[in-house]
Symmetry: C2
Subunit: 317 residues, 2 copies
């Protein structure tokens, strides 16, 4: 049993949702209509970071952890095409000083992403733990995991594998590469691009938190479709490639399976993606296409690549 | 530095809140206007429970922990006079099975309190940890910590000290008293009474989570008032009294300082409290009065009692 099984077992048992729930549990965020009919739509999500699972205290400061806990939630809102607005942040640590430092990271990220903290909790805990719940606001129809259609192209924003390259450097105690390390510790979610994509009419997206190989499966399962992804097309920056090679890793496999890039994966018709590329400063790269056959295929030089998978939330660190 | 210092240091640094924020961080819940003007008001809060701090896994099942995490958040909503509506629940545990059991407790409490789960997170963690964020809906003006006025009477719902008596029994491995133990593990927040009190016009309340001696101070500080509380008036049930005495504890001191009763403390004019008592099945007991002098005084037989205090979230368990 992994995280997805837990969610599946629980959500299968829920009663019918109240009328405010437009999209229930199971996407990057739930979608709620909290005003009257015709009124604004809100999205909500939560993510928890735990010492020894999501970070090591030897290389991640409490401020980094608090910052990242907000950033990963902001990324969930970005994946729906929403604007992050409010957070509740709960932090536990062995001493109040560490909790305060973590909450200072929360406050810093809130400032940077234009999110306002409305509450939370602080407590003692043997290991640094932070959980953030977020409310975002939609300005267009939400992008959903279930919105992909055969014939859509798959595109990713920015670059892949950089966060994992940063993580490998941290784990090995490398001084550099600074940009990759910073990107791993303090990710910058794609809020502006998500808002623009939703406004232009993109209807399917997910944020790349578990790794493309996992996350594209979530989109395909929710949409009842399959896909072909060409590993050669994955955007990998030079420093990521060098870093991967120096550690004996295949850069494209790293890009496909490494998590925590907090880029967006979009599925949309080609013309729409072209408009998005024109109107945004953020690079988007077509990496594959959505197919009617319910099969997720990774290709490399035309040959199928097997056994790619992403992050398991219960795997030993 | 304790929990309150952390909150104080952080909230003192926040910029002016966005227009949706009616009541910011610092009360039992924040109050938000999430629809248009004149539209519904929502309340939001979060609370985290951590193994070894808030419970011991030797006497609290994962289901109990999940249940309680929802209940304590529901209690925060009740203290505002709100109706609990939606939760996000994040749980971490050493194995997925334990997380699933915890989430089953979350689901059970949601069902019981009429709350709908809209998301959350599950992860591995060395110690069972659960954080719940809640959204509630107001049907009247919110009850606030800052709403107490000199001349108001102070009243508590139900009974005090029962939860701590249950905790002491659990810690000592006593088989009984069953009612007190159950009340500690699965508290029943005062939702119906909170809704009624707000509707009748009560404007000051807090839920008794840290213990009356602490919580009444929060109300007085936020309201810029003081109070006199008569320990002799605190409602203590027979089994709580017997249990306290058998452990060499003073039942009234236990009632004043023991936390986690999840009863409500209300401050309101006498006539309003009388109406409330008439219209509700839940007993309310006048335990003191609000004074203009900014001093919190506990009396016993007319004599002042010093050094009563509640729960410190960072104190060793």
């Amino acid at each position: 049993m992994n995280e997805f099984d837990v969610i599946r077992r629980l959500s299968g048992r829920l009663p019918a949702p109240p009328p405010e729930v437009v999209v229930p549990i199971g996407d990057d965020c739930a979608v709620l209509r909290l005003g009257g009919a015709g009124d604004r739509l809100w999205v909500a999500a939560a993510d928890m970071l735990v010492s020894g699972r999501h970070f090591k205290e030897s290389w991640s400061s409490p401020e980094d952890v608090g910052y990242k806990a907000v950033a990963v939630n902001v990324s969930d809102v970005a994946a729906m095409g929403g604007r992050p607005r409010f957070v509740l942040a709960s932090g536990g640590a062995p001493d109040p000083g560490t909790t305060l430092r973590c909450m200072e990271g929360v406050a810093k990220a809130c400032e940077e992403f234009g999110v306002y903290p409305i509450g939370g909790d602080t407590t003692g805990a043997a290991a640094l733990t932070v959980d953030v719940a977020i409310l975002g606001e939609l300005e267009a129809e939400p992008m959903l995991r279930s919105g992909a259609h055969p014939g859509d192209l798959l595109a990713v924003t920015g670059e892949l594998g950089a966060s994992t390259a940063g993580l490998l450097a941290l784990e090995d105690g490398d001084a550099g590469p600074e940009r990759l390390i910073r990107g791993h510790l303090r990710p910058k979610p794609r809020v502006a691009l998500g808002l623009l994509a939703a406004r232009l009419g993109v209807r399917a997206a997910i944020d790349l938190s578990d790794g493309l190989a996992s996350d594209v499966r979530h989109v395909c399962e929710a949409s009842g479709v399959g896909c072909r992804v060409d590993l050669e097309q994955l955007p990998v920056a030079d420093d990521t490639r060098e870093s991967a090679v120096s550690k004996g890793r295949d850069p494209k496999v790293l890009a496909a399976t490494g998590g925590e890039d907090y880029e967006l994966l979009l599925a949309a018709p080609e013309g729409l993606l072209r408009t998005l590329a024109t109107e945004s400063d953020v690079p988007t790269t077509v990496v594959g296409e959505v197919t009617a056959e319910r099969e997720v295929v990774f290709l490399r030089g035309g040959v199928s690549v097997e056994n790619l998978s992403g992050w398991d939330h219960f795997a030993a660190p």
